[in-house]
Amino acid sequence: MKRFFCAVLLVAAAACSQPPEPRSRAKLRIAAAADLNAALGELVARFTASHPIDVTVTYGSSGTFYAQLVNDAPFDLFFSADVEYPRRLAAQGKTLADSEFQYAVGRLVLWVPKGSPIDPARDGLNALASRTVAHVAIANPDHAPYGRAAVAALQAEQVYDAVRHKIVFGENVAQALQFVQSGAADAGIVALSLALAPASRDAGRYAEVPLGEYPRIDQGGAILRWAADVESARAFRAFVIGADGRAILRQFGFSMPAD
């Protein structure tokens, strides 16, 4: 028995010890909003093709990341769905001075699954007032910028009162889309970037909600004060807001702040 425990201890000790790693490659840890899922993958792939940097991306809700970053979560770079979060972090001295940036503007679409009787291109948001629509999924407007935008757009088209009791809230815009894809909701008001993502591109149809109908979804980010490798973080930030990065972001369904 003693020998057995010794063996277990040895294995445990071996599992705990870090494998020796080459110190040469720089590391970059990114916290990113869920709507960037497809676009950032492409951005990272292009960036690392020309830079010897290991980039790891964690996707999630901007509000959760904010709560974690206030408590010094170990990320170097933060891509938020809302400029408000990096601004607040800057105000608390959590970001590197003058490292804030705006990288994209989110766009809103009405999305329905393939077999749906709704024609988003013809009827737009008015289609949601129809009796055949039981549930409309949006992101939670209390904290998700796409949710706020969806409510504003419904109000702008004066269908909010007819649709209000049908709305169900996803924790974020990706979950709102998932509610529609699972068939539980009939339509969703989601991010164009998600409608264009490979996983949903062929599963449904969508029509863009005119940009003027909702407050602009300015997406921004910042480099954290405790970034391990500031040079790498700056290089990636420059790449994303540079010409190549902008082209990729456009391709994945974002507008640019300067548009």
Binding site: A67, R88, A134, N140, V168, G170, A185
Partner: protein, 222 residues
């Protein structure tokens, strides 16, 4: 403080516990006393929610009760509305999610009842049901109480499953844990910590009073 959400959670936990009492006791009885060899399969299925991430369970439940599944369509035809985003849908998910917390304490306790007492009762001509009611149940009261309390408390604290199937509707599916999460997301840390503290105190009181009562008079220690 989100009292609506707290009240909803209490209602959901109560309903879940009642359903689990009604179906958990026969299930536990079957698991303990059935001569079937393959009953370990059922035991394993009942215990699955202990190890599965709640999001997995919630994801499957959402698909299973949605209009794309035969079950979801059948329910919608009978009830006139679908199960997702309703209290009933949440109740179904919670029953599955909390099932091991009821069935396992029940069956452990049933199994520990002295077999000789049961056989004596049977040979005296008392029916199985009557034997269960008059011998097994009274001797298993501690396990029943633990199962009831654990499933209530477990449902009160459930998050991932509700997040997946609920749709966050105030008064219908926005439970207290979702409300706390929303407060954190909205950076309303004051409300989040108030509600969290209340949930902590309530959970502690429930558990403490159960463990306390199990030691004292009304349930005799064995």
């Amino acid at each position: 403080m989100d009292w609506t959400a707290l009240w909803l959670s209490v209602r959901l936990a109560t309903a879940t516990t009642v359903v689990l009492l009604a179906i958990g006791i026969p299930m536990a009885y079957w698991i303990v006393f059935s001569p079937r060899r393959w009953k370990f399969v059922i035991e394993a299925i009942v215990a699955l929610p202990l190890v599965l991430p709640p999001t997995v369970l919630g994801f499957y439940v959402l698909i299973a009760i949605g209009p794309l599944s035969p079950v979801g369509r059948a329910y919608a035809r009978i009830a006139g509305h679908g199960l997702p985003f309703t209290f009933e849908g949440l109740l179904l998910a919670s029953v599955l999610y909390s099932m091991p917390f009821a069935v396992q304490p029940f069956s452990t306790e049933f199994a520990s009842v002295d077999r000789r007492l049961l056989e004596a009762s049977w040979t005296l001509g008392v029916s199985r049901l009557e034997t269960f009611r008059r011998i097994v149940l009274p001797l298993s009261i501690r396990g029943i109480v633990s199962g009831v309390v654990l499933s209530f408390a477990h449902t009160l604290g459930e998050f991932g499953v509700v997040l997946m199937v609920g749709g966050n509707l105030p008064g219908v599916t926005r439970t207290v844990s979702i409300s706390i999460y929303d407060s954190v997301q909205s950076l309303d840390y004051g409300a989040a910590s108030q509600t969290s503290l209340l949930l902590l105190i309530v959970s502690f009181l429930i558990l403490a009073s159960t463990y306390g009562l199990q030691r004292s008079v009304w349930v005799k220690p064995r």
